[in-house]
């Protein structure tokens, strides 16, 4: 036991002292945030190219009423036919021609001509604008008095806040978006952690093997002690890094919360009521419905952050984090012991990485449907459960499901560690031989 602690110590200290560890600790949260936010940001990024669209309106309803944006402009060339515009399209400077037929009210069809496929933003904008205009036209046909005023006053934007209460009557604000975010974030974290630190175990084993120091070490300690010492040592490095990340993030969030939303001490109901009073006052003066929805959403997220069951989530996260890591680290240790250098690891990597990648795909489905059967089964299979179960936990799955998934994971990693120990002790002493799966099977069955 004393020796395994020495090994853990060495594995831990040599890694924590590296410069790369410090850099990752600082950059990790930034990179991770970037990884989570960037795809969404890219998806919503606005096209900054100004597009002018020529409108050929056979109905004369839409003349200069289509709303323009910063990047979408409409031009209404008079006295030119569609045919002329089409013929001169190349030199006209228009990016598209919108043709509105005179029977649009009956056919519900309008046509956008262009030489290139127009972007989603453009087509959606035009579709919405025309729909709205036609709806207004249809309303006007009913000859309602003060129509403009009525239309203005019925504009509404409902903010749905769901508040759940526990048995002791305490109110909690729940937020599906937040649950999704936490699930997605922790699933991704586990995925990265397994890859990052699992492969460190593998590289560590290969290093010892190629340095040939392994023969000296196993003449002092049992191969299993060496392997477990390495797995635990590297795991602790990962946990240290993780804890540092959390601390950095908490400090950051805490700072933001204090500065931006000092009034979070109110209960959610109090907040809603105070808003209702404000809103009714606004209605009396027939002012705009409550505007500026963005700080509202942020405030809500921070409010519900305080009510998410962080103890449970953090506890389960640590469990699946460690369980998943131990399971995969034993596979990575097997790979490391079976090869002589990193280039040879390719053939063994696929079966290890494939379940992880599948887990990520299932995770995306699970976020939308956390109680579905796909989510259920993949949160039971130990190779994918650390990622998939973690995504389900913020949605409060049944306790027995969590317990079963955890039990299966524990049993599997005990089994895989035992198996890894057997293959490892033979593998680390085999040099210059490229192992095959058949060989690994033989090593597994060696008595000693």
């Amino acid at each position: 036991m004393h020796k395994i602690i020495l090994i853990i110590q060495r594995e831990y200290l040599t890694r924590v002292r590296k410069k790369s560890f410090l850099i990752m600790t600082v950059l990790g949260p930034v990179l991770f945030a970037a990884f989570m936010v960037l795809p969404a940001w890219f998806a919503t990024m606005e096209d900054t190219e100004v597009r002018t669209i020529a409108v050929v309106d056979s109905t004369n309803i839409f003349y200069k009423v289509l709303p323009e944006t910063q990047y979408i402009k409409f031009d209404y060339p008079e006295g030119t036919s569609l045919k002329e515009l089409q013929d001169n399209f190349e030199f006209s400077g228009y990016s598209a021609i919108l043709f509105i037929p005179h029977n649009i009210l009956a056919s519900n069809t309008t046509i956008l001509y262009s030489s290139k496929q127009p972007s989603m933003t453009v087509t959606m904008h035009i579709k919405n604008a025309i729909e709205k205009e036609i709806e207004n036209e249809k309303l006007k046909a009913n000859n309602i008095e003060n129509l403009d005023k009525i239309l203005e006053s019925i504009k509404t934007n409902i903010n749905l806040r769901s508040i759940t209460w526990s048995e002791d009557g305490k109110e909690k604000e729940s937020n599906t978006g937040l649950a999704m975010g936490i699930g997605y974030g922790s699933g991704m974290l586990i995925y990265f952690f397994i890859f990052l630190f699992g492969s460190q175990v593998m590289r560590g084993v290969i290093e010892e093997k190629t340095n040939r120091i392994v023969e000296v070490i196993v003449s002092s300690v049992k191969p299993f002690q060496l392997m477990m010492g390495k797995i635990i040592g590297v795991g602790l490095v990962g946990l240290t890094q993780f804890v540092l990340w959390i601390l950095l993030t908490v400090v950051f969030i805490g700072g933001v919360q204090k500065v931006l939303f000092p009034e979070l001490s109110k209960t959610p109901t109090e907040q809603v009521f105070s808003q209702e009073i404000m809103n009714s006052q606004q209605l009396d003066t027939s002012a705009l419905p409550f505007a500026e929805p963005e700080p509202q959403i942020l405030e809500e997220i921070f409010a519900s952050l305080g009510d998410v069951n962080f103890i449970l989530i953090l506890g389960m996260f640590l469990f699946f984090f460690i369980g998943g890591y131990l399971l995969y680290a034993s596979f990575f240790a097997i790979i490391g012991s079976a090869v002589d250098n990193e280039a040879d690891t390719q053939q063994f990597m696929l079966p290890v990485t494939l379940p992880l990648i599948i887990a990520i795909f299932v995770m995306i489905n699970t976020i939308n449907n956390p109680e579905g059967s796909l989510a259920f089964w993949f949160s039971m299979i130990p190779l994918t459960s650390p990622v998939v179960m973690m995504v389900r936990i913020p949605f409060h799955p049944a306790a027995w499901e969590i317990a079963l998934s955890a039990a299966i994971l524990i049993l599997t990693f005990i089994g895989s560690t035992w198996m890894a120990g057997k293959i490892y002790r033979t593998g680390i002493l085999m040099y210059g031989k490229k192992a095959s799966y058949k060989e690994l099977w033989k090593w597994l069955r060696y008595k000693n």
Binding site: N211, R212, E215, V216, S219, L429, N448
Partner: protein
């Protein structure tokens, strides 16, 4: 008394028998040569002694009792393929390896100080291993092998990679360790160092022990009863003067001195032969042609290989 004994050790790998009922006895406070051609099973046997692998069958004894895994604390092992953590600092690494052998940090530091000073390595302490030359790394590894003052030392090709000066330093250190009471198992292909250092040997070929015993006895057993003689006088007189129980194999003359090699039919015939020679020629030198360990090695291995191929 034997410090280490292996009895009928069998070890089989998936498709070949690495050790077939191998028994060796290593007497205390001797240097024991473990010899054999490549692939004979020496490394497997060394790994079994180190408890790195376990035999399929057979028994191991240490200090007369059954060997346990705790006995590895009193074994020091220098493998043929040397290796240290390249990125780790020399001092830290030496301390780590010593602690893995069960030494306390305090003791280890004290001993390390002694050896680092003795081998003039003190300034390497905070260097990374990869910054040292190969010879320097070998020295570090040697120190880590003997630091915990093991009763049994196993050196696998210890001289490879050392320059003649350091090899000599190492040889003296090995002899010094023996003088202080250590027992040493010494595996090498360098037969001249075997003759120089070893007291006992075991020769393994094709997974079996084919020759064992004290070097002195082995050489005696393999002697060919041939004597070398240089003399002044008439070569023909020598040829004709010796009786029928002696056979003159060669008889040449060079720079006024004659050289002859004479085979006797019986053992220990040196005095009788001398008696016969004295009246015939003027003797300059006379000695028995003793086979070197190199000759013995080649002869025994080839003989058993022939026997095996016939069978």
């Amino acid at each position: 008394m034997d410090l280490f004994q292996a009895k009928n050790v069998v070890k089989e790998f998936s498709n070949h028998l690495a050790l077939n009922k191998v028994s060796i006895s290593v007497p205390e406070n001797t240097i024991f040569g473990l010899l054999g051609p490549n692939g004979a099973g020496k490394t497997t046997l060394i790994r079994i002694i180190n408890q790195i692998t376990a035999p399929d069958s057979g028994e191991l004894f240490y200090e007369g009792r059954k060997m346990t895994s705790n006995d590895t604390h009193s074994i020091g092992y220098l493998p043929e393929e040397r290796g240290l953590y390249k990125k780790m600092k020399v001092g830290e690494q030496a301390l780590y390896l010593a602690q893995l052998k069960g030494m306390s940090k305090h003791d280890a530091l004290k001993k390390l100080k002694y050896w680092f000073e003795k081998f003039e390595m003190t300034e390497w302490w905070n260097k990374k291993v990869e910054e040292l030359s190969k010879g320097m790394q070998q020295k570090v590894q040697f120190v880590t092998t003997i630091l915990h003052e093991p009763k049994l030392l196993i050196f696998d090709e210890p001289f490879s990679g050392f320059d003649p000066i350091n090899a000599n330093l190492l040889k003296n250190e090995i002899l010094e360790l023996k003088r202080k009471g250590s027992t040493i198992i010494f595996s090498t292909h360098n037969m001249s160092s075997v003759e120089e250092l070893c007291d006992h040997i075991s020769l393994i070929n094709k997974s079996e022990v084919i020759l064992e015993g004290q070097i002195y006895d082995i050489k005696k057993n393999y002697r060919t009863n041939v004597y070398e003689l240089s003399y002044l006088g008439n070569p023909e007189k020598l040829q004709s003067g010796l009786g029928a129980s002696y056979e003159v194999l060669t008889n040449i003359s060079e720079n006024h001195v004659n050289f002859a090699s004479i085979k006797t039919q019986t053992e220990d015939a040196d005095n009788r032969l001398l008696k016969e020679l004295i009246p015939l020629v003027n003797i300059v030198s006379f000695n028995e042609l003793i086979p070197s360990m190199n000759d013995v090695f080649i002869r025994v291995v080839e003989e058993t290989n022939k026997k095996n191929s016939k069978a």
